[in-house]
């Protein structure tokens, strides 16, 4: 069994355990600096992951329907080292230990005019009148609020502020992310041991759920994908791109001997999302043709890793991948060769996406970025191979964040 990515380069520079207080302090320093630079007096954040970033609050993310209506809200004010958090669980000891009591407020409901009015009244006590406020997203009820947030038209984009602050991870963030990825790999090992003909996709999900929580996860973040790939692309669903359909939803479908499974999933731990991808073959050893796919995938991954370092552009990575794949783009056109990972499952930097080649050429990797590389090899008639690896960018190259073996290849 080939060893995982850490056999190539052991991760020496990530602290063994995160210091969450220090992590939050450093985040706030970054946010404050960007806010000053952009002339923002305050940020109002609604997006779950943005709120988690700004406050360090951890809660188990739920279905998006409820998450959009019962969302915790964060307010960051220039000059105040503590964020404000509006939440129904302010009596949570984990919050009380890490935030001043006068920065913890009851829940607000910003989808309702009454909720917005009550929030605006509280906000008026936190920010000076005439303050320049940024917001990441808003409800229609918020848009009707004219005293602070929409006093001078649409508010500035606070999502951009978070994007800038989170792009490069601090050592404590890297350490927490590594733990989330480790939990994921631990659970996946339990799942992989159960792969056999007759097992249902949803059974794999059941095992995965059981083990991620037992191992310390806060939430599952994506309905896990165990996609049985068709041998030929034309045997799969129609797509807008004329390319592969992936990821497709899991069902009670039973696995059959010889099925090629593309696995894709992730969890949340301490406010970070993990990501995992592998290809498995059900109930038999990979064929020579399948092994050749895997070898080519390794060659592509190796070629990309060879050029991956701070200072490289996204275009350097895509060029290396294309060269190693014999001139074609070895990734799905509706996705990318790689993407960032952190508080969101997919965040900047996007590498090889439809934002375009000019963007890739302008995107420079920096120390501390976390990148998920997910090239594919498609071999029409014999399906294909896809795996993901997570790494952190360093000044002189990269360090692995994942270490799962490639078994059965």
């Amino acid at each position: 069994m080939p060893a995982g990515l850490m056999a190539k380069a052991p991760p020496a520079r990530i602290p063994a355990a995160p210091d969450f207080v220090r992590m939050q302090g450093e985040r706030m320093e970054r946010l404050q600096a960007i806010m000053v630079q952009q002339g923002l007096d305050a940020l109002v954040l609604l997006g779950n992951t943005n709120v988690a970033y700004a406050t360090g609050a951890i809660w188990s993310l739920g279905d998006s329907g409820r998450a959009n209506f019962e969302q915790p809200v964060a307010v960051v004010v220039v000059g105040d080292q503590w964020p404000h958090l509006f939440t129904p669980v302010r009596e949570d000891d984990r919050l009380r230990e890490n935030m001043p009591a006068d920065h913890l407020h009851g829940p607000v409901y910003l989808d309702f005019d009454e909720g917005v009015q009550l929030f605006a009244a509280q906000l008026g006590g936190l920010v000076p009148s005439g303050a320049v406020v940024g917001m990441d997203e808003w409800t229609n009820a918020l848009r009707r609020e004219r005293s602070i947030l929409f006093a001078s038209g649409a508010p500035k984009d606070a999502g951009r502020v978070i994007s800038m602050a989170k792009a490069s991870k601090t050592p404590d963030e890297l350490s927490a992310m590594r733990e989330g990825l480790r939990i994921t790999e631990q659970a996946i090992a339990d799942v992989q041991a159960k792969i056999a003909p007759g097992v249902r996709q949803t059974d794999l999900t059941a095992t995965f759920f059981r083990t991620i929580f037992d191992a310390g996860a806060d939430a599952n973040i994506l309905d896990p994908i165990w996609q049985v790939m068709p041998a030929r692309m034309e045997d799969g669903p129609w797509t807008t791109t004329g390319d592969l359909a992936c990821p497709l939803l899991s069902t009670g479908r039973e696995l059959a001997e010889g099925d090629v499974l593309w696995v894709d999933l992730g969890i949340s731990y301490a406010g970070f999302h993990s990501d995992f991808g592998r290809t498995w073959v059900v109930g038999r050893e990979p064929s020579a043709r399948q092994r050749a796919q895997y070898e080519q995938w390794q060659a592509i991954m190796g070629a990309v890793l060879d050029v991956t370092r701070a200072g490289a552009t996204a275009a350097d990575l895509t060029a290396a991948a294309i060269a190693a794949a014999g001139g074609i783009k070895p990734w799905m056109p509706h996705f990318y060769l790689g993407h960032g990972l952190g508080i969101d499952s997919a965040e900047m930097p996007y590498v090889g996406s439809d934002i375009g080649e000019a963007f890739d050429a302008s995107l420079v990797l920096v120390d501390g970025m976390v990148l998920v590389l997910e090239p594919i090899v498609w071999d029409d008639g014999a399906a294909g191979y896809r795996s993901e690896e997570v790494l952190r960018i360093t000044e002189d190259g990269w360090e692995p964040m994942t270490d799962y073996p490639y078994d059965p290849f």
């Binding site: 019962e70 302010r90 984990r94 059941a206 806060d218 599952n220 799969g236």
Partner: protein
């Protein structure tokens, strides 16, 4: 029976929902409706898409055109897409906001639409949508969507009943695992495993178990603290099946339900009776808040009633929004999770949440484990 194929929602269900939205668009004089919230997109399209946890920023996930009745949907493939949504109406995942503008501006009537409604908004979409709809005013689409979604059809009620059944089944497994020494996280693990084993891989929430505090009514402790004998553990079981949320809340004592404090159980039952009394058709929903006051029970930080449907629905009844509660009334066909939460110092809390459907003759539970007989005194 677990499905082995990805299928759209039943034609009768999805077409009826779509017709209700269309009528509301006519009433509100909306030419195009753009929804980002998954529940709204599912309501209009009837297409299942990948479940992800947490809130989502607004993006054009689904577009509904009043004039043609056409649905345009963000989906890179046609698996699970209803037959009446043709390939040319599907648009793929994009990371390039300008590609969204291109897609949207090609939709029939985009150039001339006067009123385009959205269900929420983000900074980038606020800048981009006017480029796709140059003649349009962007208006609030949420009131009409909430209006049509609030009252459920019989098919929808059955869908929620199916979700509740899986929630109860999974809750039973978690309750079985409640022994001294177990942690909240481990109980969540058991619930999630049982849910997926029953064929449903999408929870409504993942904060499934709470060891209620003996020190304060709303205190939460570490998720890895072991349950002590006699601790009252509140379970919030929620699953999403076919897009519909089913939720049930129950409280059990670690080491045997017989240990529950009789005075606490009595107060909880009194509150519950008052809550049910307030659920008669036509009553203002603020009566649910009054029920807490009348029972002498402090207002909980979570909503007292929250609509069940595709993700989130009205009503929303919380002490944090007293006026909103008074403006809403109990209607036949409403389905909501009704919450009772009573705490006693030194003991802990009794939490119960019941999926209630309002009928002409009053509230009925969609749960098969009736709150009186199961959750407290047995």
């Amino acid at each position: 029976m677990t499905a082995v194929e990805i299928l759209p929602d039943e034609a009768a269900l999805r077409l009826a929902r779509r017709a209700r939205v269309l009528a509301a668009m006519e009433e509100a004089d909306v030419d195009l409706l753009i929804v980002g919230r998954e529940g709204n997109a599912r309501y209009v399209s009837g297409a299942p898409r990948l479940w992800t946890a947490g809130s989502r920023a607004f993006g054009p996930g689904c577009v509904f055109v009043r004039e043609s009745g056409a649905v345009h949907l963000l989906s890179t493939w046609d698996e699970g897409i209803p037959e009446e949504i043709p390939h040319e109406n599907l648009y793929g995942i994009t990371f390039n906001a300008m590609n969204f503008v291109k897609v949207l501006s090609k939709i029939e009537g985009a150039a001339t639409a006067r009123r385009v409604a959205t269900d929420s908004m983000s900074g980038s979409s606020a800048n981009l949508l006017p480029k796709a709809f140059p003649s349009a005013a962007l208006v609030d689409g949420e009131p009409m969507l909430r209006q049509v979604r609030r009252v459920k059809s019989p098919d929808e009620i059955e869908a929620i009943r199916s979700s509740v059944r899986v929630a109860e089944q999974s809750l039973a497994a978690a309750a079985e695992a409640l022994v001294p020494g177990v942690t909240e996280r481990q109980l969540t693990a058991v619930f999630m495993e049982a849910m997926a084993a029953a064929g449903v891989t999408t929870p409504s929430g993942q904060d499934v178990a709470c060891i209620t505090s003996r020190q304060g009514p709303w205190r939460r402790s570490d998720r890895d603290a072991p349950a002590q004998p006699g601790d009252l553990v509140a379970f919030e079981a929620g699953v999403v099946l076919g897009g519909y949320t089913g939720e049930v809340g129950r409280t059990y004592a670690a080491g045997g339900a017989g240990d529950i404090d009789p005075e606490l159980a009595q107060r909880s039952n009194e509150l519950w009776d008052r809550l049910l009394d307030a659920c008669g058709v036509g009553a203002p929903l603020s009566r649910l808040l009054d029920a807490y006051d009348a029972a002498g029970v402090p207002a909980p930080p979570m909503p007292v009633a929250r609509g069940l449907g595709l993700g989130f629905d009205l009503p929303l009844v919380t002490h944090a929004l007293p006026l909103t509660a008074g403006e809403q009334h109990v209607e036949a066909g409403m389905v909501f999770a009704l919450t009772g939460y009573v705490w006693k110092e030194g003991v802990g809390a009794l939490y119960r949440q019941e999926p209630i459907v309002v009928t002409d003759s009053g509230p009925e539970s969609l749960s098969t484990t009736h709150p009186r007989t199961r959750s407290l005194t047995t």
